[in-house]
C-alpha cells in the first residue's frame, strides 16, 4: 500500500561524491554567489542571511547527517555563538575577526563540554538532553537582562571595519563578502573532514556504532570530536549573524530556529555538503518572497514540505539534482556512470 521505505536510499550518495565531483560543479555555487554580489544590489543583506544559514545548516549536516547525532538543540550553539560575538563586541573590542574567533572557540568549548556529558546517551534521552540545554540557555538569556538584553534582544553593538579597512556599510557589501569568505573556509574544512579517514569512521558510526566499536573505533571520542567541530561551525554562523545584523534576538536560541535549520538540511539533502547550500538558499529566498504575500503561508508550506520530503524524497532536493545530472550525462552520451 505504501512505497517500500528504502532506509539505505542515498547509498549512491557518499561514494559518488568522492573524486568524481568535477571542478565545474565545485565552482558553480561560488561563481553564482559572486555574480549575485554584482547583480543583486538591493538583496545583499538577504544574501548574507542565506550564507549564514548555509553555514549553520552545514554544521548540522556534520553532526546529524554524517554522524547521525539526532539533535534538536543546534540552535543553542548558534545562539550561543551569536551572543558571544555580540557581548564581546560591546564589552571588549569591536574587531570582527577577533570577535568571530572568540565566538567560534567558546561555542566549540560549549559543544565539547556538553558533548562529553550527553553523547553516551542515545535516542529520545539524547534528544531531550539537547532540548534541555537549548531551553536552559533560552531561559537564561531571557532572564539575564543585564547581559543579553532579555527579550528586547542585544543592542548597542558596534563593529569596527573589517581588517581595519572595510566598513560594514548599510547596503551590506562588506558583510556579504565577509560571510562568504568565512563560509568558504568552513566549507573547505568540512569537505576535508568528511573525506578523511576520520570522516569515514564517523559515517560508519552513524550506520552501526556497535560494529565500529567492535573494530576498535573509539566511538564516543569520535562523536565528541565531530560534535565539537560542528559546534564551532554553528558558533561561527551565530557570530556572523551578530556581526552582519548588529543585533542578537532571543529567537536565535529558540526551538523554532532548530526546526528551521533541520528543515533546510532535510530539504537540501543530508550527508551532502552541498545539500546545505541548496536547502538554505531556497529556504531563505522563497520565505522572503512568500512572507510578502502572507506571513503564515510559509509555515504551512515548510511544514508540508517536511512531511512530503520525509515520506517521499529521502535524499532531499539534491537527489533531484543528481538525477538531472545523470540524465544530462546520458543525453550527452558519456553515460559512464550508468
Amino acid at each position: 500500500m505504501m512505497n517500500d521505505p528504502k532506509n539505505t536510499a542515498p547509498a549512491a550518495g557518499p561514494q559518488m561524491l568522492g573524486g568524481k565531483f568535477s571542478l565545474t560543479w565545485h565552482l558553480l555555487p561560488w561563481v553564482l554567489a559572486i555574480i549575485f554580489y554584482f547583480t543583486a544590489e538591493g538583496y545583499l543583506s538577504l544574501g548574507t542571511q542565506a550564507i549564514i544559514w548555509v553555514l549553520f545548516t552545514m554544521s548540522l549536516d556534520l553532526a546529524l547527517g554524517y554522524a547521525g547525532i539526532v539533535t534538536l538543540g543546534h540552535a543553542a550553539l548558534f545562539g550561543f555563538g551569536a551572543y558571544c560575538a555580540g557581548i564581546f563586541s560591546i564589552h571588549v573590542t569591536g574587531d570582527p575577526l577577533t570577535g568571530l574567533l572568540v565566538a567560534t572557540v567558546l561555542t566549540a568549548a560549549l559543544g565539547f563540554v556538553t558533548g562529553i556529558l550527553i553523547l553516551h546517551t542515545t535516542g529520545v534521552t539524547f534528544l531531550m538532553l539537547t532540548l534541555a540545554i537549548l531551553s536552559m540557555l533560552f531561559e537564561f538569556a531571557n532572564s539575564a537582562k543585564w547581559l543579553t538584553g532579555g527579550d528586547d534582544g542585544l543592542q548597542g553593538m558596534s563593529i569596527d571595519p573589517l581588517l581595519g579597512v572595510f566598513e560594514f556599510d548599510f547596503f551590506g557589501h562588506t558583510a556579504y563578502l565577509y560571510s562568504l569568505a568565512i563560509l568558504f573556509i568552513w566549507f573547505v574544512i568540512a569537505w576535508q573532514i568528511v573525506h578523511s579517514p576520520f570522516g569515514k569512521s564517523v559515517d560508519g558510526i552513524r550506520q552501526s556504532p556497535k560494529r565500529m566499536r567492535a573494530i576498535g573505533t573509539p566511538v564516543w571520542w569520535r562523536l565528541v570530536a565531530i560534535y565539537t567541530i560542528s559546534s564551532a561551525m554553528a558558533g561561527s554562523a551565530g557570530g556572523l549573524l551578530a556581526h552582519s545584523t548588529q543585533f542578537v534576538g532571543l529567537s536565535a536560541l529558540s526551538l523554532f530556529t532548530s526546526g528551521i535549520v533541520a528543515v533546510m538540511l532535510i530539504l537540501g539533502g543530508t550527508k551532502r555538503i552541498y545539500g546545505a547550500f541548496i536547502g538554505a538558499v531556497i529556504y531563505v529566498f522563497v520565505q522572503d518572497y512568500t512572507a510578502k504575500l502572507n506571513p503564515h503561508l510559509w509555515e504551512f508550506i515548510i511544514g508540508g514540505l517536511l512531511i512530503a520530503v520525509v515520506l517521499f524524497l529521502e535524499g532531499g532536493l539534491i537527489s533531484l539534482v543528481d538525477k538531472a545530472r545523470d540524465g544530462l550525462a546520458r543525453l550527452v552520451g558519456k553515460g559512464e556512470r550508468s
Partner: protein, 289 residues
Amino acid sequence: MLSYTLTVLLDGISYGMILFIISVGLTVTMGLMRVVNLAHGSFAMIGGYVTAYLTQNGYNFYLGIVAAMIVSGILGGLCEMTIYRPLYRKGELAQVLLTIGVVFVSIALITAVFGAFPYPMIFPDHLNQLVDIGFRTYPAYRLFVIVVGAIIAGSLWYLVEYSLFGAKLRAAVDNSNMARAVGLNVNFLFTATFVAGSALAALGGAIGAGMLSLEPTYALKHIVLFLVVVIVGGEGSFKGSFVAALALGIIDTAGKYLIPEIATYLLYIAVFILLLWRPQGLLPPRSAA
C-alpha cells in the same frame, strides 16, 4: 506560612495535573510505537481552540470539551493512519522532522483561522469563583483541574492495570513483536491509543487554557515540557509520567514563587542532571530498564 506552603502546593499540583493529562497520551504512544511525536502539543492546542471557539459562540463549556476531544481524536486517528504509520519503520530523524512538520502546519492553520494573538477561553461562571477551602479561599478552576486530573489518573490506572485492554497495552509496550506473535492486533492498539491520547491532549488543552494560554505557537512552546514529563517519567510508564508531571508542576510553581529570577532555567538544569543520572527516566517500564 503553612497556608502559603499549601497554596504553592495546590497551584503546583493543579499545574502538574494539566501536564499529566496532556502528556499521558504521549507517554503511551512513545512507549508503544517508539515514535518521537513532537506534534502531540498540536492536538492539545487544537482541542483548546475548538473549546474556546465554541464557548465564545455561546455553547456550554463542557459540551465544547467533548467536541474538542472528538475533533482531536479523529484528527489524531487520521494522522496515525496516514502519515505516522510509515514512520514506525524509519529512524528517529525522520520522526522528528515529520512531526515538527506537523507542528508547523498546525501553527499556520491556527494562525490563519484564529489570528496570531492569544485566544481567550471563556470559562463558566462557577469555575471563575473563589471557594472557601478552610484556611483560605481558592479559585474553583484550579480545584476543578485537580479533581479532573485525579479522576483521569485513577481511571487510567484502573484501565491499564485491571482491564483486558490494559493488559494487551502493557504487553505491546513491553514487547510488541511478542504481542503480535501471540495474536494481538497491535496495529489496532496503536490507532486506538493514538486516538485516546489525542483526545486526552485536547481535554488537557481545553481545561488547561487558564494556565497554558492558547496562542498559535502553543504547540512548539510547550512541547519541551510535555517531553520532559514523558522522558523524565520513563517512556511508556503511566506512574512515571504521573509522578514526573506532579513533581514538575510543584517544582516549577515553587520556583516561580520563591526564586523567580532563576527558576525557569534551574528547572532545565535539574532535568539535565536527572537524565544524565537516570537516562531511562525515573520509573521506566520493567522491560525497558
